[in-house]
């Protein structure tokens, strides 16, 4: 009997779901959490017996006596981290946190950048920034304006080829970004709002269905963008020198150190091929225009294809 069968025998709900190159097993005994999880992953390939679940993430109630007053859930995963219990209403938030954590701590076959990415004509833009600077919102906006979403949280760069592998999880939107996207994406693609999460109110937006159906098609990075949402600012573009971009991307990578020399080469190759830009913008529309400019500019640059081994 496999672990998945054992979970189901105990009355748990469990599924194997593929996102990009990764298969997760997700399990919970809590019916309400399961329903939200199933709805959010309805478009992804599920329970394919040919797939080998790589990481298991589960969410359960902390203790039976808490079920009657302020029930809490806890997150368990193959790679355990500093997961604090959350209110039972935030089961989906716990799943998303756990899935991110497994990738950040366990995946070394790709150079992992904390970045969102969108594709057009086989090439992609990487948006790298700290949480809260608007990279998810920007990727979401572009994904619902004709670009193909590769991912809103991680860019997976294959060291051997330099290609970016899609990892199109549901887009995590915070606070006001949810309203901004509600105007641009169909309502049925949104999860409910999760209030009281560690970073405020969260909502998940399913990527357009082509982002999911084409998630095995990689893209060649064309430019790197460091976006910064700043209310009342004048839209601005600045070219970022290679060395500065390298340092910024290293800081955003969870496994650059682990990859050692292979990580350095992958990063150096990426930045030889891709000019880097910093953009500051006051609104999503302004950002979209800046990205178009950057896209044109980077296409006009003859990319140096020098490779570091």
């Amino acid at each position: 009997m496999t672990a998945g069968e054992a979970l189901r025998q105990r009355g748990w709900r469990a599924m194997t779901v593929r996102v990009g190159p990764i298969d997760y097993r997700l399990a919970t005994p809590v019916e309400t959490v399961w329903r939200e999880l199933s709805a959010l992953y309805r478009d992804y390939p599920r329970d394919d017996p040919q797939h080998c679940p790589e990481f298991e993430v589960s969410v359960r109630l902390t203790s039976w006596w808490r079920r009657f007053a302020r029930p809490q859930i806890e997150l368990r995963a193959d790679i355990m981290g500093p997961f604090a219990p959350l209110p039972a209403s935030l089961g989906q938030v716990a799943f998303e946190m756990g899935m991110n954590y497994q990738l950040a701590m366990g995946l070394n076959r790709y150079l992992l950048l904390h970045a969102s990415a969108v594709e057009r004509e086989g090439e992609c833009v990487l948006f790298s920034a700290e949480s809260g600077s608007g990279k998810s919102t920007l990727a979401a906006g572009l994904a619902y304006a004709g670009w193909r979403l590769l991912g809103d949280e991680f860019a997976l760069i294959e060291p051997r080829t330099g290609l970016a592998r899609p990892f199109p999880r549901p887009i995590s939107l915070k606070n006001r970004s949810i309203d901004v996207m509600m105007e641009r994406a169909p309502a049925e693609r949104f999860s409910r709002r999760y209030t009281g999460a560690p970073k405020g109110t969260l909502g998940y937006l399913l990527p357009p269905s082509d982002a999911i159906s084409r998630m095995s098609e990689p893209a060649r990075p064309r430019c790197v963008v460091f976006p910064k949402f700043q209310p009342d600012s004048t839209p601005a573009i600045r070219r970022v020198p290679v060395a500065e971009a390298h340092i910024l991307l290293v800081a955003s990578s969870t496994n650059y150190q682990t990859l050692g020399e292979a990580g350095f080469r992958a990063m150096a190759n990426l930045l030889d091929a891709c000019p880097a830009y910093a953009i500051t913008y006051p609104s999503l529309d302004a950002a979209t225009r800046l990205v178009d400019q950057v896209w044109q500019d980077s296409g006009a640059q003859a990319p140096a294809r020098r490779r570091h081994g």
Binding site: T2, R76, D78, N108, R109, T258
Partner: protein
């Protein structure tokens, strides 16, 4: 009984060819168990050296390669950390003996293949302890604990200094002066450990003599309290025995060193379970001689249940009741072995009181060994 993921993992380590034709869901169980046990890199190495690797699915190989990359990195870090500690201690002129993962990796032993090297563990003669502490602090290491009772606990009763962490690199260092707590009933001969250590070419570092290395590994597993990564630790023993056992002189030496260190029963357990789970080739004479140190029935029956239950459920995502109970009993046993009853009672009383006072002690309690 049904094959648990841990037993499946043991089978794959023994006969990697069994992995061909396993359904993906079964592979998933074995791989995730191996990752949690710290054996994924070892399994990858076994699959490669037996020629099974190329016939595995892309997905299985990808998961194992992730582990191999992390292990390779840990070996680089281990080498760096060992050289840093050696540089800090060089003025003292004392031997610096690497223990466990770092020793296996830097000495290029089979036991180090695919096995991550974690924190740096070193052994130095006890007489150098005070000076070493000062030198290491000078070089940027500082103690994790600041609590006076925890510090006293280590200094008065343990086999190592309180754990240290490097201020800028964040890496951990344990400085041992023997291999079992001073309060334990078994009294390994620390002078002999140091005297017979082998230099590692040109590094200024040493490793334990082969028999001592096995016995330390066994003491770590069968005396240690919390049974963290039990299968990985048993695999260490298996790999060391298999490599050193190529030399016929090793086996009599092993038995003799076990007597010298008072670790006869510990060795008996190590041989018993390594051969059971990994099929370690051990000469019959060594096996039967060691077995004389095993406890009589019905205690042996009980110990088998406890250890085998622990191994069966190693790396399990969920602790079942049986595994939990076995773990608890082994924890109690390890304390019994570690301290005389009155001292233990005093220690537990102090820990309990400090814990119930709460506050800052909770922050460090995970690193406190009891």
């Amino acid at each position: 009984m049904a094959e648990t993921p841990a037993l499946l993992l043991c089978r794959l380590l023994r006969t990697p060819g069994d992995g061909l034709g396993l359904p993906p869901a079964t592979w998933s169980d074995a791989l995730r168990c191996a990752r949690r046990e710290g054996l994924a890199g070892v399994l990858a190495g076994r699959l490669r050296e037996t020629g099974v690797w190329d016939r595995l699915s892309m997905q299985v190989r990808a998961i194992l390669e992730d582990a191999e990359i992390a292990v390779a990195r840990s070996h680089v870090v281990a080498g760096w950390e060992a050289r840093q500690a050696r540089a800090a201690l060089k003025p003292l002129g004392c031997p610096v003996i690497l223990l466990k993962g770092s020793a296996y990796a830097l000495a290029g032993l089979h036991a180090g293949r695919g096995r991550a090297a974690g924190d740096l563990d070193i052994l130095i003669p006890r007489s150098y302890l005070g000076a070493a502490e000062a030198q290491l602090q000078e070089a940027g290491w500082s103690f994790v604990h600041t609590d006076s009772y925890d510090m006293h606990y280590y200094r008065a009763w343990m086999h190592e200094l309180p754990p240290m962490v490097h201020g800028t690199r964040g890496t951990e260092l344990d400085v041992h002066h023997t291999v079992l707590p001073l309060t334990a009933r078994a009294k390994p001969d620390a002078r002999a450990l140091v005297r017979d250590a082998r230099p590692l070419a040109d590094s200024g570092l040493s490793i334990l003599a082969p028999a001592d290395m096995v016995l330390h590994s066994a003491a770590h597993l069968f005396h240690g309290g919390d049974m963290v990564k039990p299968l990985r630790n048993l695999w260490d023993i298996h790999a060391l025995l298999t490599e050193f056992g190529q030399s016929p002189a090793f086996w009599p030496d092993l038995a003799e060193r076990a007597r010298l260190h008072g670790l006869g029963r510990t060795l008996a357990y190590a041989l018993r379970y390594a051969s059971r789970l990994f099929g370690t080739a051990i000469p019959a004479a060594t096996m039967s001689e060691a077995a004389q140190a095993l406890p009589a029935q019905p205690l042996l029956w009980l110990m088998d249940r406890l250890f085998l239950t622990t191994f069966r459920h190693a790396g399990a995502a969920e602790d079942g009741t049986a595994a939990y109970l076995a773990g608890l009993l082994l924890l109690i046993r390890s304390h019994w072995l570690k301290m005389p009853p009155l001292l233990l009672a005093r220690h537990l009383w102090t820990k309990w009181r400090r814990r119930s006072v709460g506050g800052q002690h909770r922050v460090v309690q995970s690193r406190t060994p009891a």
